[in-house]
């Protein structure tokens, strides 16, 4: 993999047609990512028939642009109206929406774009330099290691609990419970379906998140008689000075977290976004301020989800293993054009691979150039009177969740959890742990059951594998330290 080939890649990707495909992918991806419900996988599958007519290089360039465009686009509605554009943007809402309510929507959107750019460039460099070597590390993760990772991720429940640890853990447990609804993937048994076909399909994360956060927030704002999301003079559009520094450091942390974990099959951008947020909070001198509108609370998860999006290319290209449904669709596109992803792809089609890698550099730059000037326009959305904004947001949300599976069941789920979200907010129960528990639920169950089945029921398997043991010990240490620090900070009646 020498520098001669990457220069060829740049020469090929700077042709007019490839630049056009790249631009189109980024534009469509950003637009689609903004709409709740239409995630990258759905949109890629809609575009797949078009790719038959495009040359293979153009098809992959456009799909790649669409994917990381969607990763960025999802943050726009998360930040502006507290509705996640796609799963990976759920955690961005915690501080992003608060920044909007503080008149700093422009800075939030700008740092999301900058963080995504940093992650994209870093990811592309890593793909070019150490792609296949990193892919081999991913293969060392089996079910016990995944369990260790999920176990560590559960410590985020502490972070997201706010004032009451018990409420946070309980909310997380409810999320894990909700994840069990539907057909069990290992045995095919239906749980909590009660003969209803819609329930057999389970609950999707987007209707749940849009309901809990989006619809719930709108109902809360109605009760509080909110006239506008923000009713003052808008602040700066681009962060500067100390704010920008904190945002960039947060982006770097998020990039590393998102990339290192994103290579692992099954690790979705939403999970790495949550982890990056948690790590940023733990590293912060003022962890108690997270959730009130800190710029690093937006930068870290946004960089992480984009880094994970980039990292997923490595197993697909180097080993022929798609880590998420999006990469399965991209692999299908490659195979439609007679290209077989795997170790031989670099040797037999080096020019194609380097063109795609070079176009990722260009695509990330296009994304930044496309979105930074639009930040001011998007930010003004929060000044729109709530009586006009809320109905539009409600309708977009419901159509968006309908579009996921073309079933009204998801619309009902959104409305139901919208009411639940409103009640939980009124009763001071944290919402984010429920979403985290739901996200982790399937992964946790799969890893636990596969590990114990492999060991014949012995839990020692988690302690016999070095990576799994290290993760579990690290988790226990972090929980003890966090609890110790929390006990020192809280008054007695809060414990």
């Amino acid at each position: 993999m020498g520098s001669f080939t990457i220069i060829d890649g740049f020469m090929n990707s700077l042709t007019l047609m490839n630049l056009w495909y790249c631009f189109l992918g980024c534009l469509l991806g950003t637009f689609v990512g903004v709409l709740p419900g239409l995630g990258p996988a759905t949109t890629l599958s809609i575009l797949l028939p078009l790719c038959i007519y495009l040359p293979p290089t153009g098809a992959i360039i456009m799909m790649a642009g669409l994917y990381y465009g969607a990763m960025y686009g999802g943050s726009t509605t998360s930040i502006l109206v507290n509705i996640p554009g796609e799963t990976a943007s759920v955690i961005t809402m915690l501080d992003g929406y608060q920044m909007t309510r503080n008149g700093r929507a422009g800075e939030a959107l700008a740092i999301a774009a900058i963080g995504s750019f940093i992650a994209g460039i870093f990811g592309t460099i890593m793909i070019a330099i150490v792609g296949s070597w990193l892919a081999k590390y991913a293969l060392r993760f089996g079910p016990p290691e995944y369990f260790g990772l999920i176990f560590f991720s559960l410590t985020m429940l502490i972070t997201l609990s706010g004032g009451s640890l018990l409420k946070g853990i309980t909310s997380g447990l409810v999320g894990i419970f909700l994840a069990t609804v539907g057909v069990d993937p290992l045995t095919g048994s239906a749980r909590f379906s009660y003969g209803i076909v819609s329930l057999m399909r389970g609950i999707e994360i987007i209707p749940l998140a849009v309901g809990i956060f989006g619809v719930g927030e709108i109902l809360s704002n109605v009760e509080l008689k909110v006239g506008r999301i923000y009713a003052g003079k808008l602040g700066r559009m681009i962060p500067r000075g100390a704010e920008l520094r904190r945002g960039i450091f947060g982006s770097i942390q998020g990039t590393i977290t998102g990339f290192v974990l994103g290579i692992l099959p099954g690790v979705i951008p939403a999970l790495t976004a949550f982890l990056a947020y948690d790590i940023e909070r733990r590293l912060s001198r003022h962890p108690e301020k997270f959730g009130t509108g800190l710029i690093e609370g937006v930068a870290a998860p946004e960089a992480a989800n984009n880094a994970t999006a980039m990292a997923g290319f490595i197993p697909m290209v180097a080993l022929g293993i798609p880590t998420t449904p999006v990469f399965a669709i991209m692999m299908a596109t490659l195979m439609m054009h007679g290209l077989q992803p795997g170790p031989l792809l670099f040797q037999q089609n080096g020019q194609f691979i380097w063109t795609v890698i070079a176009s990722m550099f260009i695509g990330n730059a296009i994304l930044l150039i496309l979105n930074l000037p639009l930040v001011g326009l998007w930010a003004r959305l929060c000044l729109v009177p709530f009586k006009f904004l809320a109905p539009i947001v409600l309708a977009v949300s419901l159509v968006g969740v309908y579009a996921i599976r073309n079933t009204l069941f998801d619309v009902w789920v959104t409305i139901f959890f919208g009411v639940i979200g409103f009640i939980m907010k009124k009763a001071n129960w944290p919402l984010a742990p429920m979403i985290l528990g739901f996200l982790l639920g399937d992964l946790l169950e799969g890893a636990l059951r596969q590990s114990l089945s492999a060991s014949g029921g012995s839990p020692l398997i988690f302690f016999q594998r070095p990576i799994s043991l290290a993760l579990i010990l690290f988790t226990v240490a972090v929980m003890v330290m966090t609890r110790f620090m929390k006990r020192e900070a809280l008054p007695p009646e809060e414990l």
């Binding site: 689609v32 709409l35 239409l38 949109t43 809609i46 018990l166 409420k167 853990i169 309980t170 447990l173 409810v174 894990i176 419970f177 069990t180 069990d184 290992l186 045995t187 048994s189 749980r191 909590f192 619809v215 709108i218 109902l219 109605v222 009760e223 509080l224 008689k225 709530f386 009586k387 006009f388 809320a390 109905p391 539009i392 409600l394 309708a395 977009v396 419901l398 159509v399 309908y402 579009a403 073309n406 009204l408 619309v411 009902w412 409305i415 919208g418 009411v419 409103f422 907010k425 009124k426 009763a427 001071n428 169950e445 636990l448 059951r449 114990l452 089945s453 014949g456 029921g457 009646e493």
Partner: protein, 164 residues
Amino acid sequence: MKKAIIEATILVGLGLISIIEGLRLGSRLRQPGFYDVVGPDRYAIGIGALLVISGIIYFLSQLRRRTVTNEPIAERGNEEKGMLFKVIGIVGILVLYAVLMPIVGYLLASIIFFLLVFKIFGVRSWRSNIIYSVVITAIYQVVFGNFLGVILPQGYIHITIPGF
């Protein structure tokens, strides 16, 4: 205290539902040769047990807190009484929207939805209301239905508009 009782009851109730479902599955699945040590049944029972325990702990912690401080737990302030009825009204309109969509189709259901919800949000003029509702619905149809190719519910009363 009433709030804490309701919350704890919900948690314990969810836990019991999970345990009962786990037991039901177990009686069906646990045959000789079933390979999954944990299985969907025991996992559900485990989660259910944790929910029951957390519900009980939560109730006891609220009881202890009330005993220690002897004060009701602070509620959110700044709500306007009467706005709760507006919230209920909006939920009702959302439910109506979901009910109407498969019957009259997306277009008509959306127009009705916007007419009602703009009214409840305070758009007083019916003329403005109708214009907003029709224009916004048309935009949604173009974006979702035509451009993105989302198959929106047509309903039993199918409305055909040329070009859409």
